[in-house]
């Protein structure tokens, strides 16, 4: 008898687990009463720099369509990516999702998990270069951009450049020469904020225009396991550049104690003059040091030839619709609104954008930051290339640490490149890509 009681207890325990399990999968859908106002849930990055603008978009959308948008925040980076992958696997997706465009998005099995928008009228308004980053390669279009296009290169202090009589360098050698002059003036030529190790990657990532200029097929060959960083001199240059600024004493002291936020302050105040970064840093500088934002400019990371000089563009994050949504029409209205003239106007109502949009005919106000105007010059002159991560699905997860190794000269550029090639190989195998 007593024994039965205990066994029963154990079963209750197991049952509890089971009930919890069942409840979890059942409760994942939208439980709201259909007679209530329609609502869509948007899983979005926490701490988005342009959150105010997005809130304005949501507000304008709710006012126009009478549909509620509930934003659920998630972390960025690998942690957030894992969270999304987990929720896809658990059939626990929200109605709409924001995600990085390009390779990160394309590994999510777009056709199976997201709604194809290529037959919607909105698809005609998107730039081809953007569509290439949200397609499954079979003509489907699975997301719309909600951000300006960031450009990677050198964020620099124009005031110091004027004071020292420097001109924009078109080659890496000129860049080093400028840096030596800045150093002689007692300022930090190149800001290294390796405490936030992701920032160490920019000299490589933003160098991709130069890689593509000398090896137009690099992305394709790299994806097919035919080209490597270590045996492609143009690609190896990125690691060499990171090491060179250290070896020549051109970076700040305490790079391992300097954060992204510290770097913003340094470049804004002119204590540091060059910051290898992308234009997404501008919103942060503007928020913290609005009085100095007009001192900040942008130029492309120079390569070895002045004839081929251009900026590397990141593609904006996208908003997609999950296939599991029960509010497909409302979700479609929402993504359509995001790229409509009203949507863009609402987005810009919170402040001038820090780049141009991947939407045809989008008009930028005259109040954009001077650095954004610098970027627009490259775009207008068609001197741009997309960053490698948008052209190839493989990006080794250890690139930040490997770049720090180069940046502190712990290893040679070649060793770093070899190490990164192995990291890439691991990623390609995990993705089960052909040819690896």
């Amino acid at each position: 008898m007593k024994r039965t009681v205990l066994i029963a207890l154990a079963f209750v325990l197991i049952a509890m687990v089971a009930v919890q399990a069942a409840g979890k999968s059942e409760g994942s859908g939208d439980a709201s009463d259909p007679s209530q106002q329609q609502k869509i849930v948007w899983l979005h990055f926490a701490n988005d720099v342009q959150q105010k603008g997005l809130d304005a978009v949501v507000e304008a959308f709710e006012a126009q369509h009478g549909i509620d948008v509930e934003i659920e925040f998630r972390p960025g980076g690998p942690e957030g990516e894992n969270l999304v992958k987990t929720r896809i696997a658990a059939n626990d997706m929200p109605d709409v999702l924001s995600y990085n465009s390009g390779s990160l998005f394309q590994v999510l099995n777009l056709e199976k998990n997201f709604v194809d928008l290529s037959n919607e009228p909105l698809a005609d308004r998107l730039l081809e270069s953007f569509k290439a980053t949200v397609t499954d390669g079979k003509g489907g279009v699975y997301g719309v951009p909600y951000q300006p296009i960031p450009a990677g290169g050198i964020i620099y202090n124009k005031r110091v450049y004027e004071e020292l009589g420097l001109s924009i360098p078109l080659t890496w050698a000129q860049f080093i020469r400028n840096s030596e002059i800045i150093k002689a003036a007692g300022l930090v030529p190149v800001i290294a904020s390796y405490k936030d190790d992701w920032t160490a990657q920019l000299l490589i990532l933003a160098d991709y225009f130069n890689v593509e200029a000398s090896n137009p097929d690099f992305a394709e060959q790299y994806t097919a396991n035919e080209a490597k960083f270590a045996d492609t001199p143009a690609a190896l240059r990125g690691f060499e550049k990171i090491q060179e600024v250290y070896e020549k004493g051109l970076i700040n002291k305490e790079p391992m104690a300097t954060t992204y936020d510290n770097a913003m302050e340094m470049v804004a105040l002119g204590q540091g003059v060059h910051y290898p970064m992308a234009t997404w840093v501008l919103a942060g500088i503007n928020e913290k040091f609005p009085e100095y934002i007009d001192d900040i400019g942008f130029f492309a990371l120079p390569g070895d030839s002045a004839d081929k000089n251009g900026a590397t563009l990141w593609m904006p994050n996208n908003i997609s619709i999950a296939k599991t949504t029960k509010n497909l029409e409302a979700a479609k209205l929402f993504v359509d609104f995001v790229v409509s003239d009203e949507g863009l106007a609402a987005l810009m109502s919170a402040g001038a954008p820090d780049g141009t949009f991947a939407v045809k005919g989008a008009k930028l106000p005259d109040t954009v930051f001077p650095a954004v105007k610098d970027v627009l010059r490259y775009v207008d002159e068609d001197r741009t290339a997309a960053a490698l991560e948008f052209l190839s699905p493989i990006k080794g997860p250890n690139l930040p640490q490997i770049c720090v190794q180069a940046g502190l000269s712990l290893k040679t550029p070649l060793e770093c490149a070899l190490e990164y090639d192995r990291d890439v190989e691991k990623q390609a195998k995990q993705l089960m890509l052909p040819g690896w």
Binding site: R3, P78, Q401, L408, L410, K426, Q430
Partner: protein, 288 residues
């Protein structure tokens, strides 16, 4: 003992514990041996033999984790043993403030590792942190404790000692207090100094506490993850990566098979040290 009394100790009592422990600890441990041999996405897997282990043993960024883990565990455990013993010997002598000092030194133990990591990240800041500011007062130009690849690992190990020396001390105190006072009386009559007493009485008779501290500190050190993750994230580069932080990074990168192989490797390393220690414990239990 009668058979009927035995019937009171029914194995049914083990069932609830058995279900939870077997399901949430033992089963994953056994599964890890299989999944460490695969490329795994959680929903699908592909068998790859020992590839994952080969990766772990060949990539410089992963191999460094073994060396670091052993260095970190050895440094932090040996300092905890030595300092913990000396503190215990000192704080079992007649002192007015010993109760206060024991609590003070023990206190970091109950503060979370994340909080301790944040605190010491600022103390060890190369130019503004109090450690280097104090060193500057006596004319020493302090290094970048967490940014200099050759000392970052040791810096974190020292913080670990700061946080954990209290528990070592407390275990030693318990051991020392169990020593019969008569030994000390006899030694004093023989004219032995207090150092002699420490060396020839306290130290040998604290053997069993010593074993406990070594085991706790060393195995804790091998498994350590949170402090290093908060303070350096394994950097600069990979110079302070431990096996446990590598596992986390592989997990973050979505390399579930490799992460699990790391888990198995950590399992083997810990077992290599734990099995001899297990013998010591079981032997001690017979003594009790």
């Amino acid at each position: 003992m009668s058979k009927s009394v035995q019937s009171l100790y029914t194995y049914t009592f083990l069932l609830p514990a058995g279900v939870i422990y077997a399901l949430f600890f033992l089963a994953p441990t056994f599964l890890s041996f299989f999944y460490s041999l695969t490329i795994w996405t959680l929903s699908e897997w592909r068998f790859t033999g020992l590839d994952n282990f080969a990766i772990f043993l060949s990539e410089p960024s992963l191999v460094i984790g073994f060396r670091n883990t052993l260095v970190y565990a050895t440094v932090s455990a040996s300092l905890k043993v030595v300092l913990g013993f000396l503190l215990a010997a000192f704080l079992t002598s007649e002192l007015r403030t010993k109760g206060f000092l024991r609590s003070l030194i023990y206190f970091p133990n109950i503060v979370s590792t994340i909080a301790v990591g944040i605190m010491f990240s600022s103390f060890l800041h190369p130019s503004k942190g109090i450690v280097n500011v104090l060193l500057a007062l006596i004319g020493i130009d302090g290094p970048d404790w967490l940014g200099n690849p050759s000392i970052a690992l040791l810096s974190v190990a020292l913080v670990d000692v700061w946080k954990g020396v209290g528990i070592a001390m407390v275990i030693f105190i318990a051991g020392i207090q169990a020593i019969d006072r008569q030994y000390y009386e006899a030694a004093r009559i023989d004219g032995a100094s207090s150092f002699d007493a420490l060396r020839h009485i306290t130290l040998p008779l604290s053997r069993s506490s010593m074993n406990t501290v070594i085991m706790l500190a060393f195995i804790g050190g091998l498994r350590s993850f949170d402090l290093i993750w908060v303070m350096t994230k394994g950097g600069p580069g990979f110079t302070t990566d431990l096996v446990a932080s590598i596992i986390y990074k592989q997990f973050q990168g979505g390399f579930y098979g490799i992460a699990t192989a790391g888990n198995v490797i950590l399992f083997l390393i810990v077992s290599a040290f734990a099995i001899p220690l297990y013998r010591i414990i079981t032997k001690k239990e017979v003594d009790l």
